[in-house]
């Protein structure tokens, strides 16, 4: 038995079909026009599209950032390896300096390369203090 003053809906509102008509006994000040309905439909569709676009944008941004971070990470690893190599070279240079500053090496060079002779300890003269210190 049909309900007086009402009709069953034939589809989902936004995809067409007739909108549900409220029962006559509910008092409405004014019935919506067709233009209003189309505007509402358009607003709903564009909102969803914007949301989808934003979600896609965010996903793309996340992916690009992740890739970028990973790439930076590999760059850092490479730079760390380069730094380690440079540090190793620096250590070698410090070692060579230490070797070259050995008293034994200096003595040998002074004696045999520069033909220097040792100064007898007795020939060292200590200067007298000119002012008496407290």
């Amino acid at each position: 038995m049909a309900i007086s003053g009402a009709r069953p809906a034939t589809g989902i509102g936004i995809f067409g079909g007739r909108p549900r008509v409220r029962p006559r006994q509910v008092a409405r000040p004014r019935r919506r026009s067709g233009a209003d309905r189309r505007r509402r439909q358009m607003t709903s569709v564009s909102g969803i599209l914007v949301a989808l676009a934003v979600a896609a944008g965010l996903a793309f941004f996340y992916l690009s950032q992740s890739t970028h971070v990973a790439a930076i990470g590999y760059q850092i690893t490479g730079l760390e390896a380069q730094l380690a190599e440079l540090r190793a070279e620096q250590q070698q240079l410090i070692l060579q300096i230490g070797e070259a500053r050995s008293p034994a090496v200096i003595t040998r060079r002074a004696k045999y390369d520069l033909n220097l002779v040792e100064l007898p300890a007795q020939s060292v003269t200590f200067a007298q203090r000119s002012i008496k210190q407290p």
């Binding site: 971070v69 690893t77 070698q92 300096i97 230490g98 500053r101 034994a104 007898p120 060292v124 200590f126």
Partner: protein
């Protein structure tokens, strides 16, 4: 031909099977995703996660003026993965000369089924560059750290102050010397990182989720001066060779602070290449070798007796070169020239003549317990506390103790026989005479710099007063007279006053002798080999210890020659006082200690 109803039934059956399969898969997925989630996640992460130790950087060791004595460098170690080696024969031919391998041995190694093998660890830069340039399949390089000691020593194949520094083993742990005793300070604390790795084994940068940063070791600054160390090592190496000695020890220490400025010992070693050496070389004899010091102990006997008020410098003691105690006859070293002794002598004469009988009588006047306690106050019988690993305590016998022999032990303690000391104990004891009576703690660590750059000077215990200032000054004067007018006169130096004492002591050990035990039936004597413990003929420790300059001592020096080749009555190629005379002016000049004498003391006979 199937009817319509058959088709429906079949479709229904297929639907049922598909539903069952889907339900099964769904259930299994739910099981893995929900029930087993935590366990499976942990398993997956465990496959990705790798925890690696981050080694702490070991601190450097420098001398007092900042010269580098020990540091750590990164070197390459060469390994092979034999299954990946294309041509073992040609690879071996190329690598063997670079790595010092025998070609056939290397080829056998590269032909083996081992998945991975070290070929040579920690090679020098030149070798690693050469190996890398060959681009050999199956041959790789891995960085490893190595402790290096850059300062060359005086003798061939040695490094400077190696027995002071010690070395670091392949596991990065300090062995012997400062490297061992200060290992915790130098080594720091390793850290760790837990991170995910990609298929190539590289860390995924943004995956690090647990990092424990390593705490690097501190840099250590020593009191040793590399220049002075070189100077002393040169002199000690020279006398080591000239005397054909078993070992030599030389020490220069600040009398007021206890800072060891130079410590030279031979035989020595190369701390960069220690693996094939006799481990007995690694200990530092200045702190670990105990020996009977001989006459250098007489100064302590006199100091103890003077400080206790048992004697004065004017008291005289009869020396007849014949003191019998517990059946043992005590004589003087100059008994062949003075068989009846020197008559009545003072404490000063005891030091000038190095008189055993006089020293024994002073010790007996003070009394055994008094002398024993005084020697313990001087630091004998316990380690000095120096930071070098392996320090011995020495032995002083209590005359009234279970191992004591009453008066005989007291007499032996008086002139330095029958007890054992270390060179460092002697130096510390003489420093107390030189600084007015305070026992300082010998030390080689001046301070350390933490990784944040803060320098911490090493704190030393407050020196303990062990005798009155007046006593120390008196003994210092007597020791000065011993060099100016006594048998130590060869040690006198032009322009400087020297307080010092010689010491020669025989070395005890097992002696095997043929002893006649009887006669056979024909009357021929029967001999038997008997081993007893006693002083070994011509085995001596000869030393000279000094305080410089005697008018206001700044340094104490010790020269000790262990088992030199001797002839006659302990004649040597170079005596310690001779060596002192040649090296002391250089030491004083190096330390800028000005002369304190314009002319020799009145009454001194020119020694040489």
């Amino acid at each position: 031909m199937l009817a319509r109803t058959d088709s429906r039934a079949r479709a229904l059956l297929l639907l049922l099977v598909a539903a069952l399969v889907a339900t099964g898969i769904g259930t299994r997925l739910a099981w893995w995703q929900i029930v087993e989630r935590d366990r499976l996640s942990a398993m997956a992460l465990a496959q990705l996660d790798q925890t690696e130790e981050i080694p702490a950087e070991r601190g450097d060791i420098t001398d007092a003026s900042g010269e580098l004595l020990a540091t750590t460098v990164e070197l390459q170690s060469i390994f092979a993965t034999p299954p990946s080696v294309d041509d073992p024969a040609s690879t071996a031919a190329l690598l063997a000369p670079l790595l010092g391998w025998d070609v056939h041995d290397l080829q056998d190694t590269l032909d083996s089924d081992d998945p991975w093998v070290w070929l040579k660890r920690r090679v020098d830069l030149k070798t690693s560059d050469a190996v890398r340039a060959l681009h050999l399949p199956g041959i790789g390089l891995l960085p490893e750290t190595k402790r290096v000691y850059p300062v060359e020593g005086v003798s061939p194949s040695t490094t400077l102050a190696s027995q002071v520094l010690g070395f670091v083993n392949v596991d990065g742990v300090g062995q012997y010397g400062i490297e061992s005793s200060e290992n915790a300070l130098l080594g720091g604390l390793p850290g760790s990182v837990t991170a995910q790795q990609d298929v190539a084994g590289r860390q995924i940068a943004d995956s690090v989720f647990q990092l424990k940063a390593p705490v690097d070791g501190s840099d250590l600054k020593l009191t040793i001066d590399a220049g002075l160390q070189h100077l002393l090592e040169s002199a000690m190496w020279d006398t080591y060779k000239r005397n054909y000695a078993k070992g030599v020890t030389g020490v220069v220490m600040d009398v007021n602070t206890g800072a060891v400025l130079a410590l030279a010992t031979f035989p020595s070693y190369d701390a960069n290449d220690y693996s094939k050496l006799d481990p007995s070389l690694f200990t530092n004899p200045a702190v670990s070798r105990q020996y009977e010091p001989g006459s250098v102990m007489k100064a302590f006997t006199i100091a103890a007796a003077l400080d206790a008020g048992a004697i004065t410098t004017k008291d005289k003691f009869r020396d007849d070169n014949n003191l019998r105690l517990a059946g043992v006859r005590i004589q003087n070293a100059d008994r062949y020239w003075y068989p009846n002794g020197h008559g009545r002598i003072t404490a000063g004469d005891v030091l000038k003549l190095s008189n055993n009988v006089g020293a024994a009588k002073i010790g007996l006047t003070l009394g055994g317990p008094g002398l024993y306690q005084a020697l313990r106050r001087f630091g004998f019988g316990e380690p000095t506390g120096i930071e070098i690993a392996g320090e011995a305590s020495g032995t002083v016998w209590n005359p009234d103790g279970p191992n004591g022999s009453g008066q005989l032990t007291t007499a032996q303690n008086s002139f330095g026989q029958g007890l054992a000391v270390t060179a460092m104990q002697l130096v510390a004891g003489y420093a107390a005479i030189g600084n007015g009576g305070r026992l300082v703690t010998p030390h080689v660590v001046a301070g350390w710099t933490t990784p944040d750059g803060t320098y911490h000077p090493a704190e030393q215990p407050e020196p303990e007063r062990i005798m009155r200032q007046q006593t120390a000054d008196t003994v210092l004067r007597l020791l000065t007279d011993a060099v100016d007018f006594g048998i130590a006169q060869p040690a006198s130096i032009p322009g400087y006053s020297v307080a010092g004492k010689t010491g020669t002591a025989q070395i005890a050990g097992p002696i095997t002798q043929r002893v006649r035990v009887g006669t056979d039936h024909k009357g021929k004597p029967i001999y038997k080999k008997v081993t007893r413990y006693g002083y070994i003929r011509n085995w001596i420790d000869s030393s000279f210890i000094s305080l410089l300059p005697a008018s206001d001592p700044k340094i104490v020096t010790l020269i000790l020659i262990h088992r030199p080749a001797v002839w006659g009555l302990y004649q040597m190629a170079q005596r310690p006082d001779d060596l002192f005379r040649s090296v002391a002016p250089d030491i004083l000049s190096y330390l800028a200690i000005p002369p304190d004498r314009r002319k020799p003391p009145d009454g001194q006979v020119a020694s040489r």
